[in-house]
Assembly symmetry: C2
Homo-oligomer: 460 residues x 2
């Protein structure tokens, strides 16, 4: 039976998205065990697109492809795959196929590939490498995960700072072992400390006798080898770096990071933040049902605890609810508005902390702004909701109670939305991860307490 389409045909032809016809042709070829046809279909695809395809088709189809398809692109496909899936695919490959695939990769891609594997798989891949590559990979693995040391490539082009353009070009031309990609020549002093860099464009455009020191770029910055990769991505983004030398504790050149590596990190960091803000772990479309069930369970559990806390607050006021059922009808509105206002504030705060726009210099000003804006919106919605309550239940005092509770809860939402992320950051906890739970707990508890408490005080 063919399934109705969840996405329209036009949608699947969106630029850069995988062609749906290709996927069904592939399924036909797999069913027919037609290896040449599988190769013909996958051949024109970029390894990144083949990796996406692997992630989108189910596990059974993936096994079929791996059984029928041999390609020199396999190594690159592996390094493009989602981490979770990569482990499964590597485990499914014959050792010699894996060895062959990995041998064609650059050393920094191999590092990226092996760092998340278990020790046995890691050894299998390292053994497949030639000695110099293996040493390079093993050296990189000695730096902490998510450090600049892991991100950098060791292959680079440097020149003494007193050289001329001509000397440098002759040197580059004589070098048989140039990096695959390089965009700058790094100038170093006699102790191998980087002092500047020259773009290849400037090198090519300048007369041979020009001193390198006269054509260096203004934007020169070095990256400490132990710096966290998130900071590295920030620096590239903030200062528009194209590549940056990486230095050890004595400021000596040990490698180079290029903007394409930084862009991958920026992408990962953002993705992680978005998922964390929603209480989801590191999930992807290739995860199994069981994996995502486990991933989502903890945050739902935390949410259950906070929801029970809110219910305990409500239970304090069961007398007044029993007398005035309208309170039960209206109370979720106060909590919901507070939760939404809090989410708005906390999201802005989490972003501002991540972009280093929220600092000791402006935190007080931002706090005043958040509370004031929340109060302003609180007053407007208090009037609107007071009027609606009055029309609905025809009880002026109820209208006043919900209006007052609305102002209180929205002001608290603005306050908590800023203070909770700042507090978590101060404690060294990622504000993206836990702010939402804390803030909505505060707005639920305060919302119910203010509304029902005022009602109990006035009505009983």
């Amino acid at each position: 039976m063919s399934e109705p389409e969840l996405l329209p045909e036009a949608e699947t032809e969106v630029e850069y998205a995988l062609d749906r016809d290709l996927v069904s042709s592939l399924y036909d070829a797999l069913a027919a065990q037609d290896a040449p046809r599988v190769a013909e279909l996958l051949e024109p695809l970029h390894p990144a697109d083949i990796a996406d395809l692997f992630e989108q088709i189910g596990p059974a189809k993936r096994q079929d492809v791996l059984a029928l398809w041999q390609s020199e692109d396999l190594g690159e496909v592996l390094s493009e795959l989602d981490e979770g899936l990569r482990e499964d695919v590597i485990a499914a490959l014959e050792p010699e196929v894996l060895a062959e695939a990995v041998r064609d990769l650059e050393s920094d891609d191999v590092v990226d590939l092996v760092e998340d594997l278990d020790a046995e798989q890691q050894d299998a891949i390292l053994d497949a490498l030639e000695a110099p590559d293996r040493v390079a990979v093993e050296q990189s693995l000695q730096y902490p995960e998510t450090s600049a040391g892991r991100l950098m490539q060791r292959e680079l082009v440097m020149a003494p700072e007193h050289w001329t353009v001509g000397q440098t070009i002759d040197h580059i031309r004589a070098d048989d072992d140039l990096p695959d990609q390089f965009y700058h020549v790094i100038l170093v002093d006699p102790r191998l400390r980087p002092t500047g860099y020259v773009t290849l464009g400037r090198l090519l455009g300048s007369p041979r006798q020009t001193a390198l020191a006269d054509i260096t770029e203004d934007s020169f910055r070095t990256i400490p080898v132990m710096q966290d990769e998130a900071e590295v991505a920030y620096a590239f983004n903030q200062y528009h770096l194209i590549s940056a030398p990486v230095v050890d504790e004595e400021d000596r050149l040990v490698g180079v990071i290029t903007i394409d590596d930084a862009m991958v990190v920026l992408d990962e960091e953002y993705n992680e933040d978005i998922l964390r803000l929603a209480g989801v772990g590191d999930e992807s479309v290739s995860d199994t049902t069981w994996e995502i069930t486990k991933q989502r369970f903890p945050w739902l559990g935390v949410n259950l605890l906070t929801a029970i806390l809110a219910s305990l607050v409500i239970s304090l006021f069961d007398d007044v609810i029993a007398q005035v059922v309208a309170l039960a009808i209206l109370m979720p509105i106060v909590a919901s508005m507070g939760g939404n206002a809090g989410t708005q504030s906390l999201t802005v705060a989490v972003r501002a902390i991540a972009t280093k726009d929220l600092t000791g210099s402006n935190a007080w000003r931002i706090l005043r702004r958040e509370v004031l804006a929340s109060l302003l919106n609180g007053f407007v919605f208090a009037i609107i909701m007071g009027a609606i309550s009055f029309l609905w239940f025809d009880t002026p005092v109820l209208a006043l109670i919900i209006a007052a509770a609305m102002v209180i809860n929205l002001a608290v939402a603005g306050l908590a939305g800023l203070l909770v992320p700042l507090g978590l950051e101060k404690l060294g906890i990622d504000p993206a991860l836990a702010s939402g739970t804390f803030v909505t707990t505060v707005t639920d508890v305060v919302g119910f307490f203010a509304f029902l408490g005022l009602a109990a005080w006035i009505l009983l």
Copy 2:
């Protein structure tokens, strides 16, 4: 009175964050009207950091800085500023100061600067430019906002595809008007259609007689000039491009986009998605209280409507609540768990749509996975919450009702969390913008209806 610190001192010394001592020294210098000291403090900062400083200090202090500080960096600071703030700063500058600042910028930075200004400010800046620059800017402005045409730079280096390395290097060296930054030579056919590109590293490392056609890169891709910038950023990220030629409808070369431009777009797109998911517009720390109040109002208004809808559902069951107050105490738990499970699902779906990982080929498989995972978590939390209810209220039937409502609402959350973003995408609405409201409306309504409806049916 000095204010207590909202962020610890250590926090303000985080790498790349603005130094708090610098800010207070700047305030002292401003108070003393000490222009040389202001210049001395700002001089060592990168224009991007000065822009951050402008965003973090209040509007009054910003005026003081602008009055006291003259620098050739002003143009770059302007182009680094948040759009909202940029307009204010430009309006505050004397016309001749503005003209001077803009004249030092690259043409693509000028485009970025003027595109959001009102017509009068735009004309003032265009008039300040020299004729060839003005023409270049005006041509760029003819492409739609957020198109590749706006993003690209016109300055590029190209060569006929039959040239050798030596010819190309001689040509580059003879050119007095090379782009400030370039990393590739683009090969073109006689009709100016790009056919490949060669990195400058490869050019420098190859013998002079090598044909360019023999050393082109594998990853060659062209970008249509009308393509949306979000798609451009996706292509750079997916295919690890460093630069890409931009072509018109006849495939002729019209410009080049480099990875640093694509990284800026990627950053903006992510930021926008995060804020939209939280129901916040394009906000920044430099916005005034009034601006953020207005920005946040519409989504709070939409939320009020959905909250009232949920209250209407509750009001259908006021009889049973009046008899069993425990229902009022427990009902927010069911709604809250559904809301959170729905947010998890929709966030994963919104990300998967953005990364083109959720397509016609796998939508059904993902739907089955979402519903199954929600059901699994639903059953576990049904048992937990059923047990808690039983212990709390000692009423077995109430425990069964909340357990059943939990399973129903979590399953619906999984379903809505995927179908709502897919539906919005199908309708051409950004799923990041509106999914949250729709999904929580569904989980609130279904949560209250299932719980109270079952209770009314069984208990009355």
